[in-house]
C-alpha cells in the first residue's frame, strides 16, 4: 500500500493507505481510547470510545473502523469529543458496579482509567443497578456479570485468536450477557486469554482473584518454565516472611516473543513453586533414612565422596544426568564440572528430540534455522508431525495468527488429524512410519500437496521428534537442495534445547563439538577425549555395580524409566531437585534446588532463541543449581576460578561511586555496565561469568548482549564445526518425548494443583459432552 499523508490534531502523519486511524495514531504517540478495539482481532465498533472528528463528515467517526486516506484531517481531542466519551462512560457505568475497591482489576482497569480521564464519576441514573450473581465457569475462569461492558474482546479472542469458539453473547440490549458453550461451564483450552483481554474485572482468574492488589506486587518479567516455546510470563510477586511468593502469572507486559499470548500452563501452572511438598533443606541418608542436614554437612559429604570415587576408581565410574529445565549457565557449568572436575564424559539428559542431528545436518550451512518470530511472518510453512496446539501452544497461536492476518499458507504432514488442520491450506495424512520418506515423496510426488510445496518460493519447515537421526539429515539435504528453506525442530520442556546446545551429551561438547575434536575447548584442563556413557548405559552400569557415583540434576530417571529401586544400591547417588522425586527418594544426598522462577540466567527455546531469566520468587532454604554445583566443586578442587571465571578484574566493583554526576546511581550504572558487557561478576555464584565463557567458547552463541539484557530474544545459530556423519551420533534411539497435553508438563505438572484441577475439569466436560 502506498503511503498517504493526513493530519491529526494539526500534526502531519504518514501511514500506508488503509491503515486504521487508531493504529496510525497509536504509532505516532497519539492515544485514542477504546474498549472494544483490540489489535489483530476483527473490528467491532461497539464501545464508541474511539470517536474522533473528521473534517467534512457530519458526525463523529469511530477511529477503529476509519481507514486513513490522502489529505484527511482529524481531531482526536476536543470538548465535543471529551463530552461524547464521557457520555459513553456514563452509559457503561449505568449498570457497572462501582466495587473497584474489591475488584481484581482495580488499578489495572481500562474503564477506571477512562473514568478518571473523562470524569464521569457521578451517575445521572436514579434506577437501581441490575445485579446478577457471579458465575464460576471453570477452575480458571470466573464471570462477574454486572461488571461486563460487552466489548466482545473475549468472544473474539476465544474464537478468532484461539480457534476455540467457546464464548458467545446471548440476549440483547441491557440483557446481553457473555455465555460459555456449556450450561454455565466452559469446555475449552482454559488458556485464560479471555481474562487477559478483559478491559474490566468481569472475567477473573481462579488462581489470583481476591488475593492481593496489583500495586502491592512487584512485576517480574521472566521466561515460562513449562514448554519449549519460551513465552515471556510476568510474575506478580509479593514479600513473605521467608522470601517472596508468586501470587499471579500473566502476560501483563505483552512485550515478549509471545506478544498477546499465554497458555494455561504459563498462566496457572506456577503454583508448584509454592507447593508444600517443596524441599526446604538438604537431606542426607543416615542409617538408611533421609534426614535433614545443614548445607555445609551435605556439601562436604557429597564432595568428599565424589572426590574419593574419582581418585580411586577414575572418572569413568561417575555419571552425571542433567535437566531440561535448568539454565544454560547451569547446564554449561554442569558439563564443565563433569568433564574437568570429575574427569568424565558420562553425561547425558532426558532427550525429547534430536537437536544434535539437526546441528550435524546443518554443519557448514548458515542462516538455515528459523526463530519463533519467523513463524509469525513466514509466507509458507510445512509442519511435519507433532501437535502444536497441545505441545507448543505459542507455536500454534503464531501459525493461526499468521494464517488469519497474513494469509500464510500452512501445509501439514501428520499421521494423526490435528486441530491446526483447520488453518491448513493442505494436509497430507501419512502413515506413522513414513515420516522418513517424506522428503522423497515431496520431490517426486504427483499429489497436489507435493506440487504446492514445490511451487512455494520460500519455505519454513517445522518438524518434531518423529524425525530423528538420518531422517533429519535427509530432510535437511532435501531442503538445502530445494533452496530458500529454514528449519525448526520441536522438543519438550523449557530448556531442552539449552541442555543439548550446552553439551549435556556423552559424545558432544557445547555447540555440538565432538569430544575428540582436536583443539576443542583447549582451555579446559584434563578434558577426557573418549565419548562417555549415555543415560541408559549409565543405568546399566549402575545395575552391574560399575557406577560408583551418580549426580542427578533436575531429572527423575527412576520414574520416567520405571527403574528398580534397588538399582542404585551400590551407587553413591546425589540429587538436586525441587521435590522429593522417586529418584531423590533413593539418594544418599539430596539438595533442594531453586525453580526456574527463582533464579537468573538464560534459557534457549526449541527454536534457538535465547532469553534472559529474571529472578521472581525467592524462598529460604533452596539454592540455584548453579550455586550448588559451585559449592560442590569447591569441595573437590582448589582453584574454583578454573571452573567459574569470576572476578577476573579483581573482586571489588564500581557500583557508581566513581561516575561523578551519576555517583550513587547504581541502577543506571549497572544498566550501562550490562549494556557494554562489563558486568562486574564479583561472585562465584554469578551466572553471568559463565555466560561470558559460553559466548566466547560455544559455537553458535555469539550474543547480541544489548538486546538480550533489554529483555529481547536473541536468535542463536545452530552450528557444528567439524563434520561427523549423523549416523555416528548415538542419539536417535535415546529420545523419549513427553507428549504433553495442555495441562501436563513433563514430571513437573503433577506438582501444580491448578493444572490438575483444569485437567479434571476438562476430563469431566469431555465425558458430559460425549454423553449428550
Amino acid at each position: 500500500m502506498p503511503e498517504v499523508t493526513f493530519t491529526v490534531d494539526g500534526k502531519k502523519l504518514r501511514a500506508p493507505a488503509g491503515t486504521l486511524l487508531i493504529d496510525a495514531c497509536r504509532k505516532a504517540g497519539i492515544e485514542i481510547p477504546a474498549f472494544c478495539y483490540y489489535p489483530g482481532l476483527s473490528l467491532q465498533a461497539a464501545c464508541r470510545m474511539c470517536v474522533v472528528r473528521q473534517e467534512k463528515v457530519p458526525k463523529l467517526q469511530t477511529a477503529c473502523t476509519t481507514t486513513v486516506a490522502e489529505g484527511q484531517v482529524f481531531i482526536t481531542e476536543s470538548p465535543e469529543i471529551a463530552q461524547a466519551r464521557k457520555a459513553t462512560i456514563q452509559l457503561l457505568l449505568g449498570n457497572h458496579p462501582l466495587d473497584c475497591p474489591v475488584c481484581d482489576a482495580g488499578g489495572e482497569c481500562e474503564l477506571q482509567d477512562m473514568t478518571f480521564k473523562y470524569g464521569a464519576g457521578e451517575s445521572l441514573y436514579a434506577e437501581a443497578k441490575h445485579h446478577r450473581d457471579e458465575q464460576q465457569w471453570s477452575p480458571a475462569v470466573f464471570y462477574d456479570r454486572p461488571r461486563c461492558i460487552l466489548c466482545y474482546r473475549c468472544v473474539r479472542m476465544c474464537g478468532e485468536g484461539m480457534d476455540v469458539w467457546a464464548l458467545g453473547v446471548s440476549g440483547r440490549g441491557a440483557d446481553s450477557l457473555i455465555v460459555p458453550n456449556q450450561p454455565n461451564q466452559l469446555d475449552c483450552e482454559q488458556c485464560g486469554m479471555c481474562i487477559d483481554v478483559c478491559p474490566v474485572g468481569a472475567l477473573t482468574s481462579g488462581s489470583y482473584r481476591y488475593k492481593t492488589r496489583p500495586w502491592e506486587m512487584t512485576h517480574v518479567s521472566t521466561v515460562c518454565t513449562h514448554c519449549a516455546d519460551g513465552c515471556t510470563v510476568t510474575l506478580g510477586v509479593r514479600q513473605t516472611s521467608d522470601g517472596s511468593e508468586i501470587v499471579r502469572a500473566d502476560n501483563r507486559d505483552k512485550n515478549g516473543i509471545n506478544g498477546d499470548f499465554l497458555c494455561a500452563k504459563g498462566r496457572f501452572g506456577f503454583d508448584f513453586v509454592e507447593s508444600p511438598d517443596r524441599l526446604r533443606q538438604p537431606l542426607v541418608r543416615s542409617n538408611g533414612r533421609l534426614e535433614p542436614a545443614s548445607w555445609e554437612h551435605a556439601i562436604r559429604l557429597a564432595a568428599s565422596k565424589l572426590k574419593e570415587i574419582r581418585d580411586t576408581r577414575g572418572g569413568a565410574a561417575i555419571g552425571v544426568i542433567g535437566s531440561n529445565r535448568t539454565t544454560n549457565e547451569e547446564n554449561y557449568l554442569l558439563q564443565k564440572f563433569a568433564r574437568t572436575v570429575l574427569h568424565t564424559n558420562n553425561i547425558d539428559h532426558e532427550r525429547s528430540t534430536d537437536y544434535a542431528a539437526l546441528a550435524r545436518a546443518l554443519a557448514g550451512q548458515s542462516g538455515k534455522t528459523a526463530s519463533l518470530r519467523d513463524i509469525a511472518s513466514a509466507c509458507a510453512i510445512l509442519l511435519i508431525g507433532g501437535n502444536p496446539t497441545d505441545e507448543h501452544p505459542l507455536l500454534a497461536w503464531l501459525l493461526r495468527t499468521n494464517v488469519r492476518l497474513n494469509r500464510a499458507r500452512l501445509y501439514i504432514a501428520n499421521a494423526k488429524p490435528i486441530k491446526l488442520t483447520r488453518q491448513a491450506k493442505d494436509a497430507l495424512k501419512i502413515k506413522s512410519g513414513d515420516y522418513n520418506d517424506l522428503p522423497a515423496s515431496l520431490d517426486a510426488g504427483r499429489s497436489a500437496f507435493a506440487k504446492a510445496i514445490r511451487a512455494e518460493g520460500s519455505l519454513l519447515v517445522i518438524f518434531g521428534e518423529e524425525m530423528r537421526g538420518e531422517a533429519v539429515e535427509k530432510l535437511v539435504a532435501w531442503g538445502v537442495k530445494r533452496g530458500n528453506v529454514r528449519f525448526a525442530c520441536l522438543g519438550d520442556h523449557s530448556n531442552s534445547r539449552g541442555a543439548a546446545d550446552m553439551g549435556l551429551l556423552p559424545d558432544l561438547l557445547p555447540g555440538y563439538v565432538p569430544v575428540a575434536a582436536p583443539g576443542a575447548f583447549s582451555e579446559y584442563p584434563n578434558l577426557p577425549a573418549t565419548p562417555g556413557k549415555s543415560l541408559p548405559q549409565m543405568i546399566e552400569a549402575a545395575g552391574k555395580g560399575e557406577l560408583g557415583a551418580l549426580l542427578v540434576v533436575g531429572a527423575d530417571p527412576v520414574a520416567t524409566r520405571k527403574l528398580d529401586p534397588t538399582l542404585f544400591n551400590s551407587t553413591f547417588l546425589v540429587v538436586q531437585d525441587l521435590f522429593l522425586t522417586e529418584t531423590a527418594a533413593l539418594a544418599d544426598v539430596v539438595f533442594p534446588a531453586a525453580s526456574l522462577y527463582e533464579k537468573s540466567g538464560t534459557v534457549t527455546n526449541t527454536f534457538g532463541d535465547l532469553q534472559l531469566l529474571r529472578k521472581g520468587a525467592d524462598r529460604a532454604g533452596v539454592k540455584p543449581d548453579f550455586e550448588i554445583l559451585v559449592r560442590l566443586a569447591g569441595g573437590i578442587i582448589d582453584d574454583i576460578k578454573t571452573l567459574v571465571p569470576f572476578g577476573q578484574r579483581g573482586v571489588t566493583g564500581d557500583l557508581g561511586q566513581s561516575r561523578g554526576a551519576q555517583a550513587g546511581e547504581a541502577d543506571r550504572h549497572a544498566i550501562w555496565l550490562e549494556a557494554n558487557g562489563l558486568e562486574p561478576k564479583l561472585s562465584p555464584f554469578d551466572p553471568l561469568a559463565i555466560l561470558d565463557e559460553i559466548e566466547r567458547l560455544v559455537p553458535g552463541y555469539p550474543l547480541d548482549r544489548i538486546n538480550l539484557f533489554a529483555g529481547n530474544d536473541v536468535h542463536t545459530k545452530l552450528s557444528s564445526p567439524g563434520y561427523v556423519p549423523v549416523a555416528e551420533l548415538a542419539g536417535s534411539g535415546l529420545i523419549a518425548p513427553a507428549h504433553d497435553t495442555l495441562f501436563t508438563s513433563g514430571r513437573l505438572g503433577r506438582w501444580s494443583e491448578a493444572l490438575k484441577q483444569l485437567a479434571q475439569h476438562q476430563a469431566k466436560e469431555l465425558v458430559e459432552t460425549a454423553a449428550d
Binding site: 469458539w165 467457546a166 464464548l167 458467545g168 453473547v169 446471548s170 440476549g171 440483547r172 455465555v179 460459555p180 458453550n181 449428550d772
Partner: protein
C-alpha cells in the same frame, strides 16, 4: 428387526420431518454463505417443533456448520424465538405505546383472568400461552394481539372470550383423535 430399522435406530430419531428436512437442504444452498439460512431455519423449526429444543439447536448447528453456542447467541436475540414450549396457541399482546394508551394492559389482564395464568404463563392443558410483545406494527388498529400468526386488532377486554372460544372451537374436532394432533404451534401454512 430389519437391518434398515436397526441402522435408523443407531442414529438418533430424526429431529425434523422429511418435508422440513428437504426444505432445509434447499435453504442452505440458497445463500452465498450457509449461516445466512440460520434465522429462517430457526423459525420453520420452531413452527414444527413448537420451540427450540436442545435437539433442534444441535441439528440446526450441524446443518449450517457452526457451533451450538452461535445458534443460541442468535436465537436468544430474537423475542419470537423461544427455548421453552409455548401453548398450542401463543397469545402475544402488544404493550407498546399506542396499544398501551388504548388499553393493552386491560386486555392482557383479561386474558390472564380468563386463562387463570400469569403474564408469561402457559395453561395446564398446554392449549394457550400468554406473553407481552414489543410493537407488532398494528398501531393504527391498537390495541393489537397476535395469536400464532393471526392478527386480532382493535381489541377490547370483552373480545377476549370470543377469541379464546374461537381457538377452542378449532381444536375440538381434533381432540376426538388426539394421536393425530400433536401439541404444538400452528404455523400459518399448516
Amino acid at each position: 428387526m430389519s437391518p434398515k430399522s436397526k441402522k435408523e435406530k443407531s442414529k438418533s430419531a430424526p429431529v425434523f420431518s422429511a418435508e422440513l428436512a428437504a426444505r432445509f437442504d434447499a435453504l442452505v444452498e440458497k445463500y452465498p454463505v450457509k449461516r445466512s439460512a440460520l434465522i429462517p431455519m430457526l423459525l420453520y423449526a420452531q413452527d414444527e417443533a413448537g420451540y427450540l429444543s436442545d435437539a433442534v439447536v444441535a441439528e440446526v448447528a450441524r446443518r449450517i456448520g457452526i457451533t451450538e453456542l452461535e445458534v443460541r447467541d442468535v436465537a436468544s436475540y430474537y423475542s419470537m424465538l423461544r427455548f421453552k414450549p409455548a401453548g398450542r396457541y401463543n397469545i402475544q399482546v402488544c404493550t407498546n405505546i399506542s396499544c398501551m394508551l388504548r388499553g393493552a394492559y386491560e386486555v392482557s389482564e383479561r386474558f390472564q383472568e380468563e386463562l387463570g395464568i400469569g403474564p408469561q404463563g402457559v395453561t395446564p392443558d398446554g392449549l394457550f400461552s400468554l406473553e407481552e410483545v414489543e410493537c407488532i406494527g398494528a398501531c393504527c388498529w391498537a390495541p393489537a394481539v397476535q395469536v400464532n400468526y393471526d392478527f386480532h386488532d382493535e381489541i377490547r377486554p370483552d373480545h377476549v372470550l370470543g377469541i379464546l372460544s374461537g381457538y377452542r372451537g378449532k381444536i375440538r374436532p381434533a381432540e376426538k383423535d388426539p394421536a393425530k394432533e400433536p401439541a404444538k404451534g400452528t404455523p400459518p401454512h399448516a
